[in-house]
């Protein structure tokens, strides 16, 4: 349970890091928080020739909440993102999901951008980026490119980060006025990877008048799924309405059925595909009810 030997690089600046990454190419691996990478190295599931430790690039430890969304630098720890009040106001789903990422001790070290680059479909933050339609900025010696979530997650543990590139920033779009979000999951033990998890965002449909009593109110819903496929699956349903009180999961049962129609999970040692689909159906309804309840689309009828 010790890593095999590697050549260790500890660049002091982004430019230096990109130069080293260009040099070592496909034989290099970036070390940020290391909360996924170190277990893999310790178990010798991977044995990269070069490790490029970016922990000295403290300029990248930022969390910036802006009107259009939250920008998270490569070195921002999960705990820093979770505790950032402006970020929680601009996009509440970040904190809602981060509270379910492993345990606080892991979140003290693990980075949000690192977990995206790791592209584990069981990871909460991959589903958050996917459901919000966020993007990741990749840098290399010759320039930068932004990759949208739909293109960023290529397969299980495979992201669009190419050899020589560093994921320098993730962008999570803000929650529109009047919208609501929620993240719910079922895990065997608290802090474990979820057997199934659902990120939900509910927003008033465009052009829809605000109805004071909230009944029959039409909304657009977006759902992101954890552990339900090789990449974070997303479902979008426009112009739907709960068939009862929006805060009650039962009112969303029909919509949940439609949302999970495209999911194709697999059996593994944790759960059968059938059980996962059952969880997805139940959790989707719960997540939508919770998102509705947290939104401006409630009986108070205030969509800011």
């Amino acid at each position: 349970m010790k890593p095999s030997a590697f050549v260790y690089h500890r660049p002091e600046s982004l430019d230096e890091a990109l130069e080293v990454l260009a040099e070592v190419g496909a034989d290099g691996k970036v070390l940020a928080g290391g909360q996924s990478l170190l277990p893999i190295l310790n178990m010798r599931l991977a044995a990269p020739g070069h490790l490029v430790d970016v922990n000295r690039l403290t300029d990248l430890a930022y969390v910036r909440a802006e009107p259009d969304g939250v920008r998270v630098g490569a070195l921002a720890r999960h705990a820093a993102v979770e505790r950032n009040e402006p970020a929680a106001r601009v996009q509440p789903l970040l904190r809602q999901a981060l509270r379910l990422v492993a345990h606080p001790t892991i979140r003290n070290r693990g980075t949000t951008v690192g977990s995206l680059a790791h592209a584990d479909p069981s990871g909460e933050m991959t589903a958050v980026l996917a459901v919000l339609g966020g993007q990741v900025t990749l840098a290399c010696t010759t320039g930068r490119r932004d990759v949208v979530a739909a293109d960023f997650f290529v397969g299980p543990l495979e992201s669009a980060v190419a050899p020589g590139e560093l994921a320098v920033e993730a962008f999570f779009p803000s929650a529109p006025p009047g919208s609501g979000t929620a993240f719910v999951e079922v895990a065997r033990r608290h802090g474990d990877y979820a057997v199934c998890g659902v990120a939900a965002a509910v927003a008033p449909s465009d052009g829809q008048d605000v109805d004071r009593d909230g009944a029959g109110r039409s909304v657009d819903v977006r759902l992101g799924y954890v552990s339900m496929g090789p990449t974070p699956a997303v479902a979008r349903l426009a112009g739907v309405a709960p068939d009862g009180p929006g805060g009650a999961p039962g009112s969303w049962a029909g919509i949940a059925g439609d949302a999970i129609a495209g999911l194709d999970p697999e059996d593994d040692i944790h759960a059968t595909a059938e059980y996962r689909l059952h969880l997805a159906r139940v959790l989707t309804a719960r997540a939508l009810a919770a998102a509705w309840s947290s939104s401006g689309v409630t009986t108070s009828g205030v969509a800011a």
Binding site: K2, P3, A5, P39, N42, D53, H103, T105, R109
Partner: protein, 168 residues
């Protein structure tokens, strides 16, 4: 031997400085035990699940088996050896574990002690639920969690008593 890369590393452990030269793949947990000689940090699963190796890095609990020694060059590390007072007075968490039988074999204990000590700094008066949540990332296979949760609550109480007496 093909000459594996070695790194000079400066560790500040419990306030004392240690300059060591270690293979670049050396885990912080192993550096503390082999190179610094502080064997209070226990190594269990070595992939971040059990929590036995938890130490404080600049005051925040982290898994020392999921950190390279080279990464934390120059940073402050607190191990279980650093919790007690200079005169050997047990830390409130240690005192509470003693009073509440919070340990049996003691293997997992260093990780619990460091985790709980940091937790109480941020949450001085936790509820029982919060106390349980605080230790959720640490595994114990023999004592049982009831006494450990009781120890968290008792430690919180001891801290308050000490405050009242003006000791700390």
């Amino acid at each position: 031997m093909t000459g594996e890369q070695r790194m000079p590393v400066r560790l500040v452990v419990n306030g004392a400085e240690y300059r060591v030269e270690v293979p670049s793949r050396r885990l912080l947990s192993d550096a503390l035990r082999y190179d610094v000689g502080l064997t209070g940090t226990h190594v269990g699963c070595e992939h971040g699940v059990c929590g036995a190796c938890t130490v404080l890095l600049d005051g925040a609990p982290v898994r020392s088996c999921l950190l390279l020694a080279a990464t934390v060059d120059g940073q402050d590390v607190t191990t279980v050896e650093g919790l007690a007072g200079p005169d050997g007075t047990p830390h409130p968490v240690q005192q509470a574990f003693k009073e509440c039988h919070g340990l049996q074999c003691g293997f997992c204990t260093p990780g619990f002690l460091t985790t709980i000590a940091a937790f109480l700094e941020e949450h001085p008066e936790p509820s029982e639920d919060e106390a349980r949540e605080a230790v959720a990332g640490n595994l114990c296979r023999c004592t049982g969690y009831q006494n450990i949760v009781a120890s968290v609550l008792r430690a919180s109480q001891i801290r308050r008593e000490l405050r009242r007496e003006g000791v700390s």
